[in-house]
Amino acid sequence: MALLYELVWRLLHCLLQLQRAAAAWIRGRVWRRGGRLCRRAALRLPGALGFSTQKKTAKPRRVRWVADGKALEKLPLHVGLLVAEEEQQYTDIANLVVWCMAVGISYVSVYDNEGVFRRNNSRLMEEIMKQQQELLGSESCKYSLEFLNNGTDPHALLCQTVVKVLSPDDGKLRIVQAAQQLCKAVEKKERTSKDIDVTVLDSLLRESKNIPDPDLVLKFGPVDSTLGFLPWHIRLTEFISLPSHKDVSYEDFLSALRRYASCEQRVGK
């Protein structure tokens, strides 16, 4: 009997895997076909759509993105891009960062649970600069990107997006380090244990004082877990899942933002 249940279980999971693979294949075909259709339409109606490769249509695309941002009821201040996938595509992440910038999001964090982006920080930064030029064309100079490393505070400038690359070390390990710092202060009699509360710990964990907690995390990939992403900072973060960051389209990104705009936070009330 147990064998029969196991067989049924295996069959069930096989079917679920097939369903997932089929969905991914369909998405791939639709995107590619959609891209072909758009390119054909773009030739007939120059400037009408954003997919043209001609330089003179780069302006309408940026204008459309800015308008999209303004049209949303609620725009997140800080978006986290959580890549829960085996392989990382730098160009696609760079596109997402540039779209965040164009739409008016002030802070973007990029994370994967093996610290790959962190180790290849400069490669990611280069890719983002490249895509900024590619997607925003001549207008890219109006937008300034600031890449944040540990311990530095962002400069407050208009039309600026701050990008930070995170790894699991910024999660639990960071909390442990803050705890060690506080315990050292207690050892040196600079503090007592009674001083320690949420506010004290929070201010230690908020090393870059102006960066707010992520309002929205876009999770890419099939794994339904935060995989160690900033446990302290995500207490009120909305999580929206997307199947993959590979070949992610602007439309996918915008529909996630629209979903975020429609959610209501009661904060206990």
Partner: protein, 296 residues
């Protein structure tokens, strides 16, 4: 009379349970039971009725969990933030909790109820306890680690939840078990809590099973990272000690290795003594809380 709803599963439910149990099953499930008030609105009844139905649904869900071999459940009953609600609603919730949870004491599984809880307070309190340990001379600040912080959380006697389920369609954690669920499977379901069904639970478990391999792998990576951190910390403590004792002469590797092993052993001993002291402090606190003078 048992509060956990009596009644066996139907034939189809039993068959489904047996199929699911052929795969990896979560041992500890956490629930954010959201949607009582929206349910009440939908059914045009009082909010209090929505909460009552919610508690009854919890009883039913606990029965399903037992049938599925899930022996530990943690629920978010009341957040510190919920004190912002009307006096009437808060009072009603407290009364309901008192009535329903008292009846649970006879049952043979673990139900952890997070009441007047937020995860940030729990984490800050754990750090405070470690600082207390340092103040008491039980541990050093260099003994502070992720594993030690785990021991200082309110959930220290439970394993981390394998699966976290939030109902009503909200897709956030709302300051619930943020530390403990960092590598849990998180399932957001749109059903309102009082409408939760056995099939919703099976759906969540199925998702857990689909994620099982990837999450186990991620947990392993994290554990390896923790081990490396501990080793590095021990190394640097030993290096400091040897420098302190030595007179500028280089230390041979054998001597360093022995020093490292003996340091790790003494660290473990310190930590165990601290955990013992912490447990005693907590027991004293609860004894005092339950003493006749306190209850009056």
């Amino acid at each position: 009379m048992s509060w956990i709803r009596e009644g066996e599963l139907s034939l189809l439910e039993r068959l489904t349970a047996n199929v699911l149990k052929a795969g990896p099953m979560p041992k500890h499930v956490a629930f954010i039971m959201d949607g009582n008030r929206r349910y009440a609105q939908k059914r045009h009844v009082e909010r209090q009725e929505g909460h009552t139905q919610g508690f009854d649904k919890l009883a039913e869900t606990l029965r399903w969990c037992l049938n599925l071999g899930i022996h530990e459940v943690t629920v978010y009953a009341f957040s510190i933030e919920n004190f912002k609600r009307s006096k009437e609603e808060v009072g009603g919730l407290m009364e309901l909790a008192k009535e329903k949870f008292l009846r649970l004491l006879d049952e043979q599984c673990f139900l952890n109820v997070c009441f007047a809880y937020t995860s940030r307070h729990e984490i800050a309190n754990a750090v405070k306890e470690m600082a207390w340990g340092v103040e008491q001379g039980l541990i050093k600040s260099s003994d502070v680690s992720e594993a030690l912080l785990n021991e200082c959380l309110y959930t220290s006697s439970s394993p981390n939840p394998d699966l976290l389920i939030r109902t009503s369609g909200e897709v956030r954690l709302s300051d619930f078990l943020l530390w403990q669920t960092s590598h849990s499977c998180i399932v957001f379901q749109s059903i309102l809590w009082p409408e939760y069904s056995f099939w919703n639970l099976c759906e969540a478990i199925l998702q857990y099973q689909q994620n099982h391999h990837a999450i186990q792998k991620a947990r392993e990576v994290h554990r390896e990272g923790q081990a490396v951190q501990q080793l590095e910390s021990d190394h640097s403590c030993v290096a400091e000690l040897l420098q302190h004792r030595g007179n500028g002469k280089p230390v041979d590797p054998q001597c360093r290795q022995t020093a490292l092993q003996s340091y790790a052993a003494s660290r473990e001993e310190r930590v165990q003594r601290f955990i013992g002291a912490l447990q005693q402090k907590r027991d004293t606190f609860f004894d005092h809380l339950l003493s006749p003078t306190a209850v009056a």
